[in-house]
Symmetry: D2
Subunit: 314 residues, 4 copies
């Protein structure tokens, strides 16, 4: 019943905390989990690889690779930092794209979420800023005039089930069947347990993604298993669920989990519809959107820098 | 090379004009074309049925049924007129939907065009205002609580090829393959030859539609032939191509078609990118969008009136 | 240092709570405060009049009249409720407008807040939906053709100091000096202490308003005292400050106010920039905006109903 | 009755054309008009000074200085060109700002036009991108921490009379009275006679400006004469009036002005509400808005380059 975090880093932290309280070494990872961290002045990159099923069970996350880029500041506070994040994202994406052995592979960017709910609009907005080329590559004449650095990219924002009436996973399957990409990169807004992560953390993983809460339980995961091609998920927490935050807080303040009674009372107060978010969410999403889309464009169009991206998107 | 009108009514008018100048009876239709007109105070409904291939060739339009709702005013100038247009559209749609013999057929609304270019945004905006139910109908529990008047509707705005990198027809094929609708209703903004038609004419036909100008010539028509299910197209002229308008005008003023030289000069001036449109295009599109979406919702959810639609869309 | 609520109702509740815990009669109001409540099925209207300076001091609110319309539902959940709220607001406004004894007085609607921050955009959006007539009334010829029900209304959205570089109060003074209205009605988004009030409460008062947090402390109150004409303030809580909510919650959970240490820790976590808001804030603001603007238009253009308003705003 | 162009360059061209047809030297200017032109690869800067009242009468323009920046391309087609235009605009503005002898003068940017009509939204959008400082300069403490390059700038978008109910000139007068700027720079979208000028021409002048068509004839010019301080107007043609374009065209095609009869017929067809505009008007306005706002920010905050501007506007 409790709200779960979409971030593997938070799963690891929960374990670390539990351990610390058990007087164990906080830096000792579960068997089958490999992690390394790279510190930069304004951000940090953590790479976690979950190999064993046991570790996966312990962390409640799928086995696979998780890369997290964490700002040390409260937001992307300068153009320079925005550019650094874009370059870092681009470099980290190589870990995944270099596995595509086919010459000139086709990558499909999928922007998940609802364009008209600001904190949920990250995915569709990243799609708007992709330099797409698949339709040009498919045309003999146009291909000849194309910037040679350009890879083959297509991009879709399938919408959410409440708007389309169709399961997002099904739409995606239909699009893959006709466009035949070699890899999907799905971008989505996530929920976090901590306000400090909101708009400051980017998680990249090769384990797929489950689109935002749907009707009933039959939501289809978007992953290599369900879609048949590699699915790289890029997620950014843009909100904290108000109920979750409150429960966490009470637990800390009182030293024990809120009881049934309290939970019900809190649940009445916040419903499932109250979120915690920065006041300047529009600006924060825009900055994150530029960092991610620039990073993806540089990763997929080899040799592009951010100026090239802006030039093509003018 | 010259710009073509998307409206069958204009094709018929061109013939009528030519004839009139040949002293023929202007009201005599080509063999194989049947037409009737219903006059209302503020608008007129014309139904044209092109049956013979010869008539189709003469009008340069596919054989099929074309229904045109024409405002006599310059725009949808009152709430009452907006409501009348919605009801008329709803009633005329019956001609097409009643051919679906299956119990509770599924209809997919497709909003063609580019959401971020105002005169091209009609289709996606109509999609935003559809009451979709397909995902609820598919769920035993939810279906039980559903308003019994509701039909099965899904709705997608596939975007344009320049944004997605995928041919719109291909996207649509992929979506049909996974959602299995029994009919597609495609809504699109059109070009007209006459400024008087802009935002005053709605054309409905069962002959399909070709999405807006793409790259190269391999644009795929959206029709029963290509998609395998009935495709009803709803089009509204929202712009006049400036070059076309100018050529028509010169022809009238001088009594002869512009020669090669003049055409080139005009073409230099207007490029292919200048359009003629009302100053208040944002408002005009919004009004048309409400009329059409209300009409479609009433046609597909039997017993709805406009208040029901607004209630569900709140 | 603690965040204050903009709602007089919350001030009264705080007192009531304190009293209740002191075993006093919860329904006994401070001397000099008069209150009455009208219950409807889906909402309640409370009118509070603070007359004595002592009562004002006790409630930490200015002396004057405060009318609160409170939804019993979580949001404006139907067109019918939206209409009822508009009519109620219109009727309550009479209490203030009937004091304008001049024939055909001019009323200036002022939309406070920042149009590009969704939860702060209520004021400017209400301005967009006002039927303005002042410029028509001033023109002999146009006045003759005007709907006789129309009052004299102008409307401005002065922007926020961070965007204009000018104190909002100063801008307003400048506008009043040139437009000479007889009354200002200022609409603004507020903060509440309780998530249950967000987008469910409308507070109307004749005590003026202080525009959202500015730079330094020299923010000028907008009131009859500072502007020289009656200022009616209409406020709707659209957010809860995350830090305030958390402090309140901890106090309830632990039975005591958070100490300095805890406050600092919380302050670090939420900064001053995290807010609690409904996920569907865009929709909620839009519904509230329609209810308020319809209510104001009906109050100022005597005899208008909501259809008249929609007709003029088409 | 005929539509007039807002561009002095077009006035001069009309004269030049008339002369050329009278076999006079096309480059001979009327007495009292001084002009020089600077050619760059992708654009050209023309400076025209009208000194004598006779010349002013002949050109139907106020005496004063007019600077025109004309693109040789169809639009701002690259980031580099956008930057060049910004720097050129910044440099040319010096001609006007250097006349402000006061130390640290205050400049008010005024964005004329209607934010919600795309081709009319240039002014308000430029205002959104100004780095405003007036409120910071006025605060001892904040001023100390301010970037020393910063001038004193405030910025307002007063809206249009149809939305506010107040004459734009009156609003501006009220704002000047409270903010006490030393100069107004008013930015507005204009109409041109030629499609080739749309979004390719920037006109800067010190003769003031008349806000877009109002009700009746009592529109107040915004100029040093009416407002008491220097008013620099920056205008960009974003549309061509369809009726004007058509008349011009017919005149050229037939060699004579359209007669009364034809004018009436054309007037019926286009009303006063049809405009000619590029299909990608949203993008074109955005590019122009960035060029102008960057230029103004660099002109008013000495030592800023475009990166500084973007940094402050992030």
């Amino acid at each position: 019943m409790k709200f779960r975090s979409d971030l593997v880093l938070e799963a690891k932290e929960l374990i670390d905390e539990k351990r610390a309280s058990q007087m164990e070494a906080a830096d000792q990872l579960p068997e089958g989990v490999f992690a390394d961290t790279e510190e930069k002045e304004e951000y940090r990159v953590t790479r976690i690889r979950i190999e064993s099923p046991e570790a996966a069970a312990q962390l409640e996350k799928e086995p696979g690779t998780y890369i997290t880029i964490e700002l040390k500041t409260e937001e992307i506070s300068s153009l320079d930092l925005q550019k650094q994040i874009a370059h870092t994202l681009s470099a980290e994406m190589n870990l995944f794209t270099e596995k595509l052995t086919k010459e000139d592979p086709c990558v499909m960017i999928v922007g998940l979420g609802n364009r008209s709910i600001t904190p949920d609009s990250l995915g569709p907005r990243v799609v708007d800023r992709m330099v797409v080329t698949r339709h040009l590559k498919g045309n003999e004449q146009l291909r000849a005039h194309l910037d040679r650095r350009m890879g083959t990219v297509c991009a879709v924002a399938p919408g959410v089930m409440g708007i389309t009436g169709i399961e997002t996973g099904a739409i995606l399957q239909g699009l893959i069947d006709v466009a035949h990409p070699d890899m999907v990169i799905a971008v989505d807004a996530l929920a976090s347990r901590k306000t400090s992560r909101v708009n400051t953390t980017i998680q990249i993983s090769d384990t797929g993604i489950v689109p935002g809460s749907g009707v009933g339980n039959r939501r289809m995961a978007l992953s290599q298993k369900t879609l048949g091609i590699p699915v790289i998920a890029i997620g950014v927490p843009t909100v904290v669920d108000a109920l979750t935050m409150t429960c966490d807080l009470l637990e800390k303040a009182t030293g024990k989990e809120p009881d049934e009674d309290m939970l019900e009372r809190l649940s009445d107060t916040y419903g499932s519809e109250m979120i915690v978010t920065p006041k300047n969410i529009d600006v924060a999403i825009e900055r994150m959107c530029i960092a991610i889309s620039n990073g993806l464009n540089m990763a997929l169009h080899k040799g592009f820098d951010t100026t090239d991206v802006h030039e093509y998107l003018m």
